[in-house]
């Protein structure tokens, strides 16, 4: 019928343009989804299913994602950004930077998960499948060039993360975390979507490029609607990256989720959320920067201060790391607030350094949680240096790096965003950033002190039993600490990488 109509009157129905799909540019996302599906396929057809198989396949998927991202990196560098699938996705240096970051997260996350799943007795591949799917959402977010696609990526990322948060069937906290994350996450998604609708209403498009062009050449007729939409987008993305005051889920969810899931979430969700945030605000709404810069300024200040002050009073390491990750989000916001390419490069470098620091830290937490993943009180770290000197040393490196001690990537990351802020004359924000690093140093030091305090001697204590550090976890901690020190000493390549990935205005 339709066809007949179309034939009869060609002008009545416009022909459907099937967009040209450039699969090569989408390869990282496709590999991640394909890897997840392959895992599901294998689990249903193969009879002998050793647990290492799932880890191995996930690692292979992560490695393939990494390789394809690096290939894209050189493509993009030589031939410029590519806009694919009817301009819905853009593959530029910025997107590929995040693809590499997500691939790293998948690889390190899989190594973390294998320890945990073995110890807690979950032989299935579900954890890995969810992780890969979530990562694919993150990759989509990083390359989204359309608010709707951004939303799709956000949902793919989040829904898998909700399930991961509740993955431990026998821990009530895990269920609680999943529930909280889901309910609040659903709210924030709704707000985001409403923001998309308002922006569409004000500008007539959801495509980031079109919005940008529209704003550059028009005075938005409905300024209030546009600003309300932008604000809602900020809320939705701010929720994902745990910016105060949209952070209230973070401590509970970080504490309740299985430790490897927390590590993965802290790295991937933050990276993807910031990918969206930086692209939408810095690039798409660059003409509105006079409106959003003050807002981001305030958000950055309260995020930094709330994150570091509340971390000081925590007694649970996962809650403490949750608040510390909130304050890290504040530093990335400093880069955005600078609204310059140096600021974006600073934010990217910060996220790169943060990914390794946070995954390494949660690797230590995973080991220290012991069977049941419940022993996360700070007192568990007392005397770690005398029982596991190497682990304690590596953790010390990661903590000092987060505190911003020189010759670590953590210091350079802070230096980079602060220097961008100073360059943009945001002296107050730069100073607040540095001062909140002093507050933060207090709680990082507290753990270090505990680790180097001789253990309390009561033989009955579970904690005096030998602590098993599986090779996979040791590898994650080692890689994270080595990255932190090595690129703290020779930062030029990574800084160059971040600068190359900076968004073009």
């Amino acid at each position: 019928m339709t066809i007949l109509l179309a034939q009869a009157n060609p002008t009545l129905i416009a022909p459907i343009h099937v967009p040209n799909v450039e699969y090569s540019a989408m390869l990282p996302a496709l590999i991640l989804i394909g890897g997840a599906l392959l895992l599901l396929l294998v689990v249903s057809v193969v009879r002998s299913r050793p647990p290492w198989l799932w880890t191995g396949m996930t690692l292979a998927t992560g490695a393939a994602t990494m390789v394809s991202s690096l290939v894209l990196w050189f493509d993009v560098r030589d031939d410029g950004p590519r806009r694919v699938v009817a301009d819905a996705l853009v593959v530029d240096g910025f997107a590929v930077f995040f693809m590499v970051l997500i691939a790293v997260t998948v690889i390190l996350g899989a190594l973390l998960a294998t320890t945990y799943l073995d110890r807690e007795g979950f032989p299935g591949p579900e954890f890995y499948v969810l992780m890969l799917l979530s990562a694919s959402g993150a990759v989509v977010m990083a390359s989204a060039n359309d608010l709707i696609v951004l939303f799709l990526g956000l949902e793919i990322l989040s829904i898998a993360l909700y399930v991961l948060a509740g993955f431990h069937p026998r821990r009530l906290e895990s269920k609680e975390a999943a529930m909280k994350y889901f309910v609040l996450g659903a709210f924030s998604s709704a707000l985001f979507l409403y923001g998309v609708a308002l922006v569409y209403g004000a500008t007539g498009s959801t495509n980031l490029g079109s919005i940008r062009t529209f704003l550059a050449s028009n005075v938005a007729p409905n300024g209030g609607v546009l600003l309300a939409g932008v604000a809602l987008l900020l809320v939705g993305l701010g929720f994902k990256v745990a910016v105060v005051p949209f952070h209230t889920w973070t401590p509970d969810v970080y504490q309740g989720s299985p430790s490897p899931a927390t590590g993965f979430m802290a790295a991937a969700a933050k990276a993807a959320g910031f990918a969206g945030l930086l692209r939408v605000f810095f690039s798409t709404f660059s003409t509105l920067r006079l409106d959003w810069r003050p807002v981001v300024f305030v958000l950055a200040v309260i995020t930094l201060l709330v994150g570091s002050v509340l971390a000081v009073v925590q007694t649970d390491i996962k809650r403490m790391l949750a608040y510390s990750s909130i304050s890290h989000a504040g530093y990335v916001l400093i880069g955005l607030q600078a609204a310059s390419s140096a600021g974006i490069a600073g934010s990217l470098f910060y996220l790169l350094a943060y990914t390794f620091m946070v995954l390494g830290s949660f690797a230590v937490v995973t080991v220290m949680g012991r069977q049941g993943d419940a022993d996360h009180d700070l007192s568990a770290y007392r005397g770690l240096a005398s029982r596991r000197p190497a682990l304690a040393l590596a953790f010390t490196v990661l903590l000092l790096s987060q505190a911003g001690v020189p010759f670590t990537t953590g210091f350079l990351a802070k230096f980079y965003v602060i220097s961008a802020a100073v360059q943009s004359r945001s002296y107050a924000l730069a100073l607040i950033g540095m001062l909140s690093a002093v507050i933060a140093a207090f709680f990082y030091l507290r753990i270090t002190v505990l680790m180097y305090t001789p253990p309390a001697d009561d033989g009955a204590d579970v904690r005096s039993r030998p602590l098993a550090v599986p090779a996979a976890t040791a590898l994650v901690v080692g890689v994270a600490a080595a990255f932190t020190i090595a690129f703290g000493l020779v930062p030029a390549p990574m800084i160059h990488f971040a600068r190359q990935a900076t968004l073009l205005l």
Binding site: L400, V405, P406, F407, F411, F415, Y416, I418, S419, V422, Q423, Y427, A430, L431, M434, L435, A437, V438, A441, F442, L445, R446, V449, Y452, T453, P491, A492, I495, H496, R499
Partner: protein, 511 residues
């Protein structure tokens, strides 16, 4: 001499750092080997620094032995090291004190980590004194916190954790201001030119507006004031010194505090001469308050080590006083006094440590008549104490005298008040000496063993230097003066500050 092919300064910084890595790889079960390796590395570094002092060209006021490499080219950061008259003897002091601190006091546990941290600390201190790139300076300035934090926290006395965290946070707090100030300077002075952290280039650009320069100067001063420490941000110092192990106190007082006075002179005064002149009254006042207050508080201390710690507050006040007098004598005296204070206070801490090892107390009220059982220790203590008081013929006098003369000719009343501090120093040190060493020993104070040969060997170089610098400071001052004169004339060129003719007589040659 300056065109040495071998990058001696880089070697001086990297040698202890490399040795720290080597020590970290040695087996934990061989503390003797660890100590030997650590000591030899520190000694080799010390020998290099002493050689540096001899090879140094007296006639050259600029930076010598400079070597330069790109590090983070994207951000305009390079590895630049160089030495001039102001930093030379601080480098030598660091090179001399570290082997002494490493071999002197006993280490009660985990020799390996201790030695490694000490070597990292040495690299950090040397790096700070030698860097001519602001970013690299800041890195080294900050990194010294980490080993010191672990040394206080790991090998200190009862209250060590509190003291180490306080030390770390105070200094970090100050540095926060400096980093922002440093970045502001770098970006504001660029004005379209490429961004650079090269200190020499920045000093030449000097393109900040007057008010901006004042703020940035204050930001730098915040960091250095905590480190020095100036009144009222000195409160971390008594805790850190008292709780630190002996070697930690020696290095903290001898070297780390000098990072502050050195920094304020090298970076504060050189980069912002106008702001330094404008704000000199403020800093002079704080320094004078520190001199009097530190001396008064030292007088009433019950703990011998705390007394020495407070005496540092007073002594460092003299250095700041000389610096902001901005005369040739004042600044030279300040630089010399940095070295003197390192020698005499370092030696005092070693001696207090020796007393503690024998008596396991530092309470003055529990010590008496030590002179009877330990005549040699008492004699050495006397010499060191008199040097700290500033007795003519010993090193302390030369420095303090120059500072007071230099201050008197431009800032008379501050000098007058500060001179009272010299008298107070005699009061608290002599009174403490009297209570601890004089009289008839009672209780546990009877029959203590005197200094061992090892302890004598450790103290010998310090005592020799104390006497040598007191009797014949000329070779040292000859190397310090050209750079100081260049600095003061730089300040005079940039501002309407003029030192009286009497101060610059040396230049006109009518001596």
């Amino acid at each position: 001499m300056n065109d040495l092919d071998f990058p001696i300064l880089s070697a001086i910084v990297l040698l202890p750092a490399a040795a720290a890595v080597v020590v970290a790889l040695l087996p934990r079960s061989r503390p003797d080997v660890v100590r030997l390796v650590g000591f030899l590395a520190a000694l080799a570094t010390g020998v290099l620094t002493v050689w540096l002092a001899f090879a140094f060209d007296k006639g050259d006021a600029g930076y010598q032995f400079v070597s330069q490499h790109h590090w983070i080219a994207d951000l305009g950061i390079s590895w630049i090291v160089g030495v001039d008259g102001i930093s030379l003897f601080l480098v030598v002091l660091t090179g001399v004190l570290f082997p002494i601190a490493l071999i002197g006091p006993k280490v009660h546990r985990d020799v390996k980590s201790y030695t490694a941290w000490m070597l990292v600390l040495e690299a950090g201190c040397l790096g700070s004194f030698l860097s001519l790139d602001l970013f690299v300076f800041f890195l080294f300035f900050e990194i010294t916190l980490v080993p010191m934090y672990f040394i206080i926290g790991g090998w200190g006395y009862e209250n060590r954790v509190y003291a180490s965290v306080k030390f770390f946070l105070y200094t970090l707090f100050g540095s926060a201001f400096m980093l922002v100030g440093m970045l502001a300077l770098v970006f504001l002075s660029a004005k379209g030119r490429p961004v650079t952290f090269d200190f020499r280039e920045l000093a030449e650009r000097g393109a900040l507006a007057e008010n901006t320069a004042r703020w940035v100067f204050l930001a730098f001063t915040a960091a250095f004031a905590v480190k020095i420490p100036l009144f009222p941000v000195h409160t971390w110092l008594p805790d850190a010194h008292t709780e630190a192990p002996t070697a930690g106190s020696v290095i903290l007082a001898g070297v780390l505090l000098k990072l502050g006075t050195y920094g304020i002179l090298r970076f504060g005064v050189t980069l912002f001469p106008a702001a330094a002149v404008d704000l000199a009254p403020l800093l002079l006042t704080l320094a004078t308050i520190g001199i009097i207050y530190g001396a008064l508080v030292a007088t009433v201390q019950k703990d011998l080590k705390r007394l020495v710690a407070y005496s540092s507050v007073a002594h460092l006040g003299f250095i700041v006083l000389g610096t902001f007098a901005l005369t040739n004598q004042g600044v030279s005296g300040g630089v010399l006094q940095m070295v003197n204070h390192g020698l005499s206070t370092g030696a005092l801490f070693l001696l207090v440590g020796m007393i503690y090892e024998r008596r396991h107390t530092r309470q003055i009220s529990e010590l008496n008549g030590l002179q009877k059982s330990m005549p040699v220790l008492a004699a050495v203590f006397t010499v060191v104490m008199l040097s700290s008081i500033g007795l003519p013929g010993l090193n302390g006098f030369v420095g303090e005298f120059l500072v007071l003369v230099g201050t008197f000719i431009t800032r008379r009343w501050w000098a007058v008040v500060a001179t009272a501090g010299v008298i107070l120093a005699a009061l608290y040190l002599l009174w403490a000496y009297q209570r601890v060493f004089h009289g008839t020993p009672t209780g546990d104070n009877v029959g203590l063993p005197d200094m061992t040969w090892r302890e004598r060997a450790v103290m010998a170089p310090l005592v020799i230097l104390i006497v040598f610098l007191g009797v014949y400071p000329k070779p040292v001052l000859d190397r310090i003066n050209p750079s100081v004169e260049a600095l003061v004339s730089r300040v005079e060129k940039a501002t309407d500050h003029r030192q009286p003719a009497v101060a610059s007589r040396r230049e006109t040659g009518d001596r």
